[in-house]
């Protein structure tokens, strides 16, 4: 990893959580670890941002939560992307692609 990990801002975090859940249902900590792993630790998800984000996504019907017993025998929540979440995710990704390409064009010249 080069340099300090970057905290992800809220909206982007929502998109990333949904993308991770599109692979498979996971617990909160699993989502966080997966984001760290896939970004090679360039992105950092604070616990204080993760759970409010999960609650928000759940209240908007984009993810659903199921109580399950974890490997260590404790009860935990496992999150699943809903159909609405899947539809929203593809829109968000398209939007991200368009805007990040626009920033790249200014930052690095035409591509």
């Amino acid at each position: 990893m080069r340099g300090k990990a970057i905290d992800i801002v809220q909206g982007t975090l929502n998109m990333l959580i949904c993308q991770i859940l599109a692979e498979k249902p996971l617990h909160g900590w699993g989502i966080r670890e997966r984001i760290h792993e896939l970004s090679k630790n360039a992105l950092q998800v604070r616990v204080g941002s993760l759970y409010p984000a999960l609650n928000r996504l759940q209240s908007r019907g984009l993810i659903s939560a199921h109580r399950v017993r974890t490997a260590t025998g404790r009860m935990g929540k496992r999150y699943t992307l809903t159909r609405a979440g899947r539809a929203q995710l593809s829109q968000e990704i398209a939007h991200w692609d368009r805007l990040s390409a626009a920033v790249d064009r200014v930052a690095h010249g035409a591509k």
Binding site: K40, V103, V106, A107
Partner: protein
């Protein structure tokens, strides 16, 4: 807080401008982009001495009309970058008027390199997640 307005392609067809905040129920996946106004301004001013509105116009053009830096974000951005010692205004006579052209300071050039590296790292990381191999 720095903010740049991102406008939709629709406005060129006379449609209303895209509002990121209102339209996306997931929140703003592109919040990251709002944090790039300093990068975009420094980059544009670094190309050649330019007036504030000229920098905004160039960002709009280079981004193929996707990113619009509004008046309400442009002025605070210029004030902030100046206060940080990253840009310097020069008054230049143009006809019988004075133009205020901005250039990058040495600190501004160093900051631009940092902001570019940060953006690349951030956007690569997000891309690695949303577009897995």
């Amino acid at each position: 807080m720095s903010r740049c307005q991102v406008s939709g392609q629709g406005e060129h067809r006379g449609e209303s401008e895209e509002s990121i905040a209102g339209r996306h129920t997931m929140g703003k996946a592109t919040d990251i982009v709002h944090g790039t106004i300093d990068l975009l301004m420094l980059k544009t001013i670094g190309m050649e001495p330019i007036q504030g509105w000229g920098a905004a116009k160039r960002i709009h053009e280079l981004s193929h009309q996707v990113i619009r830096v509004r008046e309400g974000s442009l002025h605070p951005a210029l004030v902030r970058l100046h206060a940080l010692g990253l840009i310097r205004p020069h008054l230049v006579k143009s006809g019988n008027r004075m133009k205020r052209l901005y250039t990058l300071t040495n600190a501004g050039r160093a900051q631009l390199r940092k902001e570019l590296a940060r953006w690349d790292r951030l956007s690569d990381a997000v891309d690695a997640i949303v577009h897995p191999e």
